[in-house]
């Protein structure tokens, strides 16, 4: 349970494990950190004694930079580890790699991995706090938190807000974390895309399904458009990017033709001309760059709250 300003979990493995109070606590804490980021001196010494390893088993540019910045802004010592330069290629197991790093006294692990559940597996075997920076097709919790933070900034309280998630839902950890987060905050959610990119049982998560992007845009207050993940598809799920763009792509004309102003989001990187045209991505509807900026503040909040939780736990044991 969330007691006041303490988060209920020891690790951030997924939004699934968080309460609505946890989510609000993270988002509220992030507001303060965002203020700090606007100051001339953007650094606080909150995690001065904390060492964090960024363990990236899968390529990442923006998430990794965002976490690194968040860690540096909080004054933490950081170690970076990427699969390409690692002992992974020498056949070392995940547990061995992490235990080797932890024996050098690391307090937190930020991990990205291509296998769903990898951080959950790791959390059963090590003591350090784990922050999931994306696991396979499961969750990307900090992305969902920064998305909700950005939505809240743009449209206020999310209770009753209509949010559409458009694109490749099947292969997207962003979609799943967003669904959990938005449902916990009381938003209504529709997922939209070709049926081959939508899990058959997605409605069991309390969302509706649409195959028509125009109707979905007309319904929603916020459209979170996802990247078409070509790299995750080893079976033909749609015929061509051209056809996808014609059927599900969003351009500025469509947004301008709507009866109400909607907020347009994208977790990046954008396939310009596929899911979003350039004129839509760069339009006034778009808060895509705000999302990036908010990412640092939200990740600072997550790292801070987990460090605080683990410290209070350690203090209570001492």
């Amino acid at each position: 349970m969330n007691k006041g300003n303490v988060i209920s979990v020891d690790n951030l493995l997924g939004i699934k494990d968080l309460t609505a109070a946890d989510i609000n606590l993270i988002l509220d804490t992030a507001v303060g950190f965002k203020d700090i980021l606007q100051r001339p001196i953007k650094k606080v010494p909150t995690l001065r004694d904390t060492t964090i390893v960024n363990l990236f088993y899968e390529n990442s540019t923006r998430t990794k930079i965002s976490f690194e910045l968040a860690e540096k802004r909080l004054g933490a010592d950081i170690v970076n580890f990427a699969a390409s330069s690692s002992s992974l290629k020498k056949g070392e197991t995940l547990i061995d790699t992490v235990q080797n790093i932890l024996s050098m006294k690391v307090d937190m692990v930020v991990m990205r991995h291509s296998a769903s559940g990898a951080p959950h597996f790791l959390s059963n075997h090590i003591d350090a706090a784990i922050v999931n920076a994306g696991d396979g097709t499961n969750e990307h919790p900090t992305q969902a938190l920064l998305d909700s933070f950005s939505m809240r900034e743009a449209q206020g309280n999310l209770k009753g807000k209509k949010v559409a998630i458009i694109g490749d839902i099947s292969h997207s950890r962003v979609a799943l974390s967003n669904i959990f987060c938005l449902k916990k905050l009381g938003a209504k959610v529709v997922v939209c895309g070709p049926p081959t990119l939508i899990p058959k049982h997605i409605q069991s998560l309390g969302v509706d399904v649409s195959y028509n992007v125009q109707e979905t845009l007309e319904w929603c207050d916020i459209a979170n458009v996802l990247r078409i993940q070509l790299e995750r598809q080893d079976m033909p799920l749609f015929s061509s990017l051209r056809e996808y763009a014609l059927q599900f792509g969003i351009d500025k004309k469509m947004l301008d033709g709507l009866k109400k102003e909607i907020t347009l989001m994208h977790p990046g990187p954008i396939n310009r001309g596929v899911e979003l045209s350039s004129d839509a991505a760069d339009s006034a509807h778009s808060i895509i760059l705000d999302q990036v900026q908010n990412g640092v503040a939200v990740r600072m909040a997550v790292l801070f709250l987990l460090a605080q939780k683990n410290k209070s736990l350690a203090d209570s044991l001492a």
Partner: protein, 417 residues
């Protein structure tokens, strides 16, 4: 050597003593005498609370990993596991290295089980090296002792090859065993497709991958007028399709793995690789139905799907973990947990073997002693020390389980625990 078993409930549907409380006197590997109360002297006398004696249990689908993967299991550890689980016969799947696809491999296994107290029946591969391309030398293997044929864990995908195999096997009146799976649909799947896979962000294996192949294979079997057995079926619909075919006279039968009777896809919530099996654990509803269908005889029996995996194959990320669980030693407690009574357990533990080989033990005077002695009372701890397999990949680790295997008797060999 003489053995006297006192006041046991006999469970042998093909015997006139079925369900009766009897004394059993065994001499020189044969059942010499059965009576309400026998007054004979014996070298060994067995009495136990709630003692049941049934026809020796037989498994039709276990992996003993030998040759090729002896660090996981070998023939001797497999035999010890079988005995501890109450089994007197085990059919071994051919997914070894090299595969059981020639008579020399069949011979290698049979020679090692002589006088062990467990009959090992190698399952001959249907296709050469289990590659799914050419027919293996099944006649040659059958002359050496292979009674059933299967590509084991690898489901035969080519309809053409399966048809030829079913036709070919008619000459020797042998049954072909398939794990039903349409791999072009189940590809990359890691668990049952459903609410749970959606919530866990894992690629699901839809039940239609199983149904489609059962339907296809039944059509082929009907055309070939041959015999097929589906093992590891995991859904109500599979049972219905198979029973509908049975009704119209197709020679088809099926078995279920024990873990599908007590676990569901909900057990995967923490990504515990000890629940990673194929066919995957399905929903609570399917689990309940499978138990009911087994009790009603719509499923012909249990197949252990005993799959030893070393710790390194399981203590990794779920996606990289190997499938399968050990089970042969724990069939009794699993069936008790599933809610089967002693008679249902005795039937389930040999029913699949009876149907795929057409042979069965019986408890009659003069018959060869082929017996499993067990009790539903008492408990035991599952621990590394009591586990006979070389591997310990089971969700039952550390559990206190119900029931006791008192022992097995096969001819002159007895293993009273």
């Amino acid at each position: 050597m003489t053995i006297l078993i006192k006041q046991a409930t006999l469970l042998s549907p093909n015997s006139k003593h079925h369900r009766k409380k009897r004394d059993l006197y065994i001499k020189n590997g044969r059942i010499e005498k059965i009576g309400a109360s026998l007054r004979v002297k014996a070298t060994k006398t067995i009495e136990a609370k709630g003692l049941c004696v049934s026809n020796g249990w037989k498994d039709i689908f276990a992996d003993f990993c030998d040759p090729g993967f002896e660090h996981k299991e070998d023939i001797q550890s497999g035999i010890a596991t079988a005995k501890a689980g109450g089994y007197t016969g085990v059919c071994i799947i051919p997914n070894t290295e090299p595969t059981i696809s020639s008579k020399s491999q069949v011979d290698y296994i049979i020679k090692q089980c002589a006088q062990s107290g467990v009959d090992l029946i190698p399952i001959g591969a249907v296709s050469k090296n289990i590659e799914g391309q050419q027919l293996a030398e099944m006649y040659d293997m059958s002359h050496t002792g292979a009674k059933v044929f299967s590509d084991g864990k690898k489901s035969i995908q080519s309809a053409g090859l399966l048809l030829k195999a079913l036709q070919y096997l008619k000459t020797i009146d042998a049954t072909l065993i398939q794990i039903p799976d349409t791999t072009s649909i189940s590809a990359n799947g890691q668990m049952n497709e459903g609410e749970q896979s959606t919530a866990l962000g894992m690629t699901g294996i839809p039940a239609i991958a199983e149904h489609l192949q059962i339907q296809r294979d039944i059509t082929l079997c009907e055309y070939a007028e041959s015999k097929i057995h589906f093992t590891g079926i995991s859904t109500k619909k599979s049972v219905e399709i198979i029973n509908a075919a049975k009704k119209r006279g197709v020679n088809v039968s099926c078995s279920v793995s024990p873990y599908h009777l007590i676990y569901t896809d909900k057990n995967l919530a923490s990504y515990d690789a000890n629940f990673k099996i194929f066919p995957p654990l399905r929903s609570e509803q399917e689990k309940k139905y499978l138990v009911k269908a087994l009790k009603e005889g719509k499923i012909d029996g249990i197949a252990s799907h005993h799959t030893p995996q070393d710790i390194d194959a399981k203590k990794v990320e779920f996606a990289y973990a190997k499938e399968g669980l050990i089970s042969l030693q724990y069939i009794l407690p699993i069936l008790i947990e599933a809610g089967l009574n002693a008679e249902e357990i005795a039937i389930a533990a040999q029913g699949a073997y009876k149907i795929v080989t057409g042979t069965s033990a019986t408890i009659e005077e003069g018959a060869k002693a082929d017996l499993t002695l067990f009790s539903l009372t008492g408990t035991s701890e599952v621990s590394k020390e009591t586990n006979h397999s070389k591997s310990y990949n089971t969700p039952l680790q550390g559990a206190t389980v119900k029931g006791q295997i008192i022992g097995t008797i096969l001819g002159n060999q007895n293993n009273i625990l």
